[in-house]
Amino acid sequence: MPEAAIPLLHIDSLEVRFGAVRALKGVSMDVRQGEVVALVGANGAGKSTTLRTISGLSRPRSGSITFAGASIGGRPPPQIVRLGIAHSPEGRRLFGALTVAENLRLGACTRTDRAKIAADTERLFALFPILKQRWRQLAGTLSGGEQQQLALARALMAKPRLLLLDEPSLGVAPLLVRQIFDALGELKRQGVTMLLVEQNIKLALELADRAYVLRTGSVALSGSSAELRDSDRVAQAYLGAAE
């Protein structure tokens, strides 16, 4: 486990509401530099909301989010992206009328180092070869799995210090799920910090160092992946939400 004492991302008793719905009721968590943290939980537990609040799409009602020492709670998304957080959102949210190339170019729109961008694009092709084949195709006509890879690649183009991933395996064929998680493992080795939301708990815990289990808007359980893998407490934490 990486040694950095101060977490890269620190969330403290975060609360988010949509009208009368309390989506998050005081969530606290840490993500340290170089770490992969999984965020799991039943449908509607508030996983996506947590990510959306970190990247600025939802506003916290109370609580704080600190990234690399700076408080970012409530700041607009573009500022947060510039600080180094990239978000691959639920439902992919690609620009369907733009080509694969243009989507990737926009992924890097906060960067100014042109030469490096080209090099990074090449590296992404090694990770996701299909994107090279579909370079000029409109993103909207890609199949589901292809879109998922593009969404990931687009987020990576920003060269983030923290990558937020919302269900990267959703709608993806098993073989490709493998490939995507292999790619994520490769990124982890390269030192990319990730906060991963995933329904496939087995895969998630394989990749992650630590995990948090959310249940109806609050953290029900947390611990290292190894601990959680071996206990059935995760299942229990889930069931609590299912009733």
Binding site: A42, N43, A173, P174, L175, I201
Partner: protein
């Protein structure tokens, strides 16, 4: 239902090539394949959302090619969509009723005059909706707007809505996507129950192998638009071509 030589190309890209399938009454058939292998395209062709370049689709002995979607639905084919497509501004109950009305139609004139026919048909449709909501465990949510439902409930509502058209053939496009493992397990039971209760033939497109293996009696595997294998779950799991194209050597 059966198809023969079904082919669809999008400007050069052949999404489905020479596809053939034959469904038996009351069976649960799985269709799997890598992303972009043409599974959704297959559904779109059957339900009339796009027109095939070549091939035949026969449903209960008659060709349904060229018919409009609503006509095909009224013949008895219903579907759900990959990523749900509910009527967001209608309530849960109204979503189902909008579909249930297909078999118990009331025209504008009946509506304005509130004829006796209006009353009986509306009652019938409501009875169906009630039964389906109950079956799907959505009764408590009946009055909420569809857009406010949690994701899992939305997926179930979509199935309920499709069933409300009283189909003989039900096409489910990735019903488990985005569901957590408990809900996925529940879905297996649900699909079986639907088949038993309503006597429908079900085709499931899904990437969740656990679900497919558990629920399907036969499975067809597509890759780049072509059928590479058909068989029981056991046969398919052990087929080397399927392992290479789809499952990986896990």
């Amino acid at each position: 239902m059966r198809t023969r030589g079904l082919t669809k190309a999008f400007r050069g890209l052949v999404a489905l090539k020479d596809h053939a399938i034959e469904l038996r009454e009351r069976e649960i058939m799985g269709v799997i394949g890598p992303n972009g292998s043409g599974k959704s395209t297959f559904f779109n062709l059957i339900t009339g959302f796009s027109k095939p370049n070549a091939g035949q689709i026969e449903f209960r002995g008659r060709s349904i090619i060229g018919l409009r979607t609503e006509r095909i639905v009224s013949l008895g084919i219903a579907r759900t969509f990959q990523g749900s497509r509910l009527f967001p501004s209608l309530t849960v109950e109204d979503n189902v009723l909008a579909a249930a009305q297909l078999r118990h139609p009331v025209g504008p004139l009946d509506s304005v005059l509130r004829t006796a026919r209006y009353r009986t048909r509306v009652d019938k449709a409501e009875a169906i909706a009630e039964r389906l909501l109950d079956l799907m465990g959505l009764t408590a949510q009946a009055g909420r707007l569809a857009s406010q439902l949690p994701y899992g409930d939305q997926r179930r509502l979509e199935i309920a809505r499709a069933l409300a058209t009283e189909p003989a053939l039900l096409l489910l496009d990735e019903p488990a996507a985005g569901l957590d493992s408990n809900e996925t397990t529940a879905l297996v039971e649900l699909i079986r129950k639907i088949r038993d209760l309503f006597g429908v033939t079900v085709v499931v497109v899904e990437h969740d192998m656990d679900l497919i293996m558990a629920v399907c009696e036969r499975i067809q595997v597509l890759a780049t638009g072509e059928v590479i294998c058909v068989g029981t779950p056991e046969q398919v799991r052990n087929d080397p071509r399927v392992r290479e194209a789809y499952l990986g050597h896990a």
